[in-house]
């Protein structure tokens, strides 16, 4: 119980002081929300694979 509460507190601090400010900056300056929205001007919603990602390196976790 106390651990769960403590974890909530730590994650809450992390969320409020890191995720929220970073997120809001991202949303305002880099328009990061655009990809969640419709784009009437676009011909297609397909995202082409950039040439460097056409071969997938299986030795990496990312």
């Amino acid at each position: 119980m106390i651990w769960s509460w403590l974890l909530s507190l730590i994650l809450g601090i992390f969320y409020v002081f890191l995720i929220v400010p970073l997120g809001v900056l991202n949303q305002v300056f880099f328009k990061s929300k655009a990809r969640y929205q419709y784009n009437p001007a676009a011909q297609s919603y397909w995202v082409p694979r950039p040439a460097k990602n056409k071969t997938i390196d299986m030795s990496k976790q990312s």
Binding site: L11, V24, I56
Partner: protein
Amino acid sequence: MTYILGISAFYHDSAACLLKDGEIIAAAQEERFTRKKHDSGFPSHAIRYCLDEANVKMEDIAYVCFYDKPLLKFKRLIQTYLDFAPDGFRSFRKAIPLWVREKLFQKQNVIRALKEIGGQGPVPEILFSEHHLSHAASAFYPSPFEEAVVLTLDGVGEWATTSVMLGKGSKLTPEKDIHFPHSLGLLYSAFTYYLGFKVNSGEYKVMGLAPYGRPQYKDLILDHLVDVKEDGSFRMDMSYFGYCTGLKMTNAKFDELFGAPARKSETQITQREMDIAASLQAALEEILLKMTKNLYQTYKIPNLCLAGGVALNCVANGKILKESGFKDIWIQPAAGDAGGALGAAQAGYHLHLGHPRTVHTSDSMKGAYLGPVFSDEQIIERLKAQGAVFEAMSQSEMLDQTAKALADEKVIGWFNGRMEFGPRALGGRSIIGDARSSKMQSMLNLKIKYRESFRPFAPSVLREDMPDWFDLDHDSPYMLLVEQVSAAHKKPMSEEESGRFGIDKLNVARSDIPAVTHVDYSARIQSVHKNTNPLYHALISRFKELTGCPVIINTSFNIRGEPIVCTPEDAFRCFMGTQMDMLVLGNVILYKEKQDRNLVQDYRADFDLD
């Protein structure tokens, strides 16, 4: 000799697959061993089985291929919280501790689990495929095509929810994707949730419900929820959905659009739910047809391979085969994430190690019979230990007795050969019955499967007789294509009958094989081939000799919520726990009336409803 072990785990439907020089030796889902439906834990049992099947040890394995990239998934999660901040703390609080444990330390977790299996020996090098590369590899490499367009659609992998890759020889090249949160799999799951079924397992119920409804909400879906471009690519209006940051799939705005909150599970299903299911199915088909038609026109390659959970939508698959322009399609039978284990291993072998590929004229899945097998001796020994009363006999005698019982409308548990890989029972672990019987559908549903009576059963038909009974002349060994019963075997409905609504309509005999004919005259067809399952083929042939009908009912050998049976013990328990009349394991037959009544156990409560 190169052995490669593929693993999919930690999401849903964990599985393992073993390749020997590129050939699929064994594959199985963890749930079959642990008896926990859609078990997502590390597939230790499935791995042990694969090693045993090939008679090898962990140290003989050259590479272990994991089916996705955990760190990329973790990045997507964080990015999504950033994009939705300050919303989403409740989901963040719940998800992050789990994801930190699972994704950030996944490699270490996998190594530890492999060590537990392998003992003191060294752990093989671990490779990480990409989620949709695994799906695509599982669809292309075992396919009978030298060259194909590969389309994979599911809920979500790392970022991709929809991918197009081009396969040629042993090469598989990613072309383009649609990214999270825009996802046909998640759209379908959102409606599954809204209609009161379980996400990640109830989707096929929505598909089964659709033929009862009228697609009157289709425009509502296409006007408000999804924006579809001319080429079939799409985005969803996320203001209606809760899955990015909330803990629910749909939200209040969604409820408002459809005029009511989500249906509570296990409550009465009304015409409204049927209409919504029909509308969703129609919208999905329209999007998929637009997409596949455009892919055919863009790449001008005659073959299409499909995988990912959405490829289990066999109604849509039937339409793609007929209308997309592609001359031929092949669908991975384990299209969901279990099949990712197989794809990851194939990607490791052909893409990472660069080995060439042999294309087989049918396919390389061995009929999907890739799981454990039991000899008659093993079956007899295990049945004795259970206290079963049985009779061992010659194969010919077994076939005669079984075919005769089928014709007498008996319900039979059929346990033969290797267990299937993927969600469908294909005549290895099946419950079978007479498709001509008008009472079979409701009897099977209520007395054996203990599930809703609206769901239709699927037919197994001899491949050579298929065109006479269905409007389909294309191999469908994995029950992944839906087509109409042929006109010669349809029975017209009277005006009163066709005016009936919903489930009342199901009780009208609409064809010579009513037990497998859905209300719209469609059937989810399994073609049975002599070369991949000779015994099952022989059984249906005997049944045909007796009755003139080459079609039987085939449903999975389990009760509601239970994984398909794996061992003779599982089969015996299911046989005793239901009103099945007869059980056939190898050449051993058990009749219900001869069994000790004290061995009957109602084990329905052991499983959560699906």
